[in-house]
Symmetry: D2
Subunit: 112 residues, 4 copies
């Protein structure tokens, strides 16, 4: 593996795991405490799906399988949807930030 | 591995994965639809923790690591707590049944 | 959800979890015991990636997120590659069978 | 949650995810490349079990379930066994370091 590529991948694993952490803890702490629109199926399902695909994309990069490109592409898609849904609800800036950063990182890996 | 032991383990993996399925789908479908006490942190956290430990205990048995005894013991504990909390809320019979069966299976594996 | 769709999804979750089980236990039991080509990076990475995407696709269907179509499409792809690699090595009929069945099920879900 | 406790937990999640990364990538990269004793069932099973319990303990802390004490205790146990097995084989210093740090962090969480 070229060094530049290894560095980009390492940064992407960082961003995926950071986003996974943010989504799980925000959903289970902030959202359940807020109630209302925050615990509607639409939002909670998206948060948990985002956490899971981040976890899986990180795992694929750690396994060093070429299929990580496809999980990263899907991860970027879901993260971007999560950004929009968290902005719609408001007050979830840390989660928006983590999803946005992860989406950018994953876009890069997907097109590598 | 003795045949009897392999059969008990295979049954326990079945029960863990069945309980994992029931907990995830009940939490994300039934509980989010019901709202109220069903989406309180206490209950949702327990449902998601139960799903995760079932997934992990199944994985440990598939890896065939001797540490599966400890994850199975913990799994039994959490499943029993989940039985009680689902009975408290009512209307979650399939989940209660899956947790109870998984707890029994895991108790057996933990003491093997 | 229409009943026919729910049945197809339930069958696909069954097939994903069965394939996940087969891939993990075959890799950690049969492949490590055989050694040689069975423990080469190419094969082991594919087996572990297949296990992980099956686990994730099942999880996405349990979460009932519409993104399950994309994870199912990727799952079918990896399962088909795993079929070819297990046939190349030989003596892994149960794993070939589980991957083939899961690929078919996931193709159906992906195009639903 | 008291601030000191939240900080200790955050550090433990960091250490668990760092150890998970190190175990997966070392097993799938270094160990499969080395072959011999590195791909024996005893060692590979332990590496994969260590990765899984680290992932699960991190998840339990993110869910903020009190059961994290038990998964952290088990995680410390497996990490310590992994330290010994990596030292036995030699040349796996980064993995030894990550496992040792995670074991210490998890011991602290388990007794909190």
């Amino acid at each position: 593996m070229h060094h530049a590529h290894a560095d980009t991948m390492r940064a992407c694993i960082d961003d995926c795991l950071a986003c996974y952490r943010e989504c799980v803890s925000t959903a289970m702490d902030h959202c359940l405490a807020m109630g209302g629109a925050h615990v509607e199926k639409r939002h909670m399902t998206l948060m948990m799906a985002c956490a899971e695909i981040c976890r899986t994309s990180a795992h694929f990069m750690l396994l060093d399988t070429p299929h990580h490109r496809h999980t990263c592409a899907e991860c970027a898609e879901i993260c971007e949807e999560c950004v929009r849904d968290c902005e719609r609800l408001g007050g979830m800036d840390a989660c928006v930030e983590a999803c946005r950063r992860c989406a950018e990182s994953c876009r890069k890996m997907a097109s590598n």
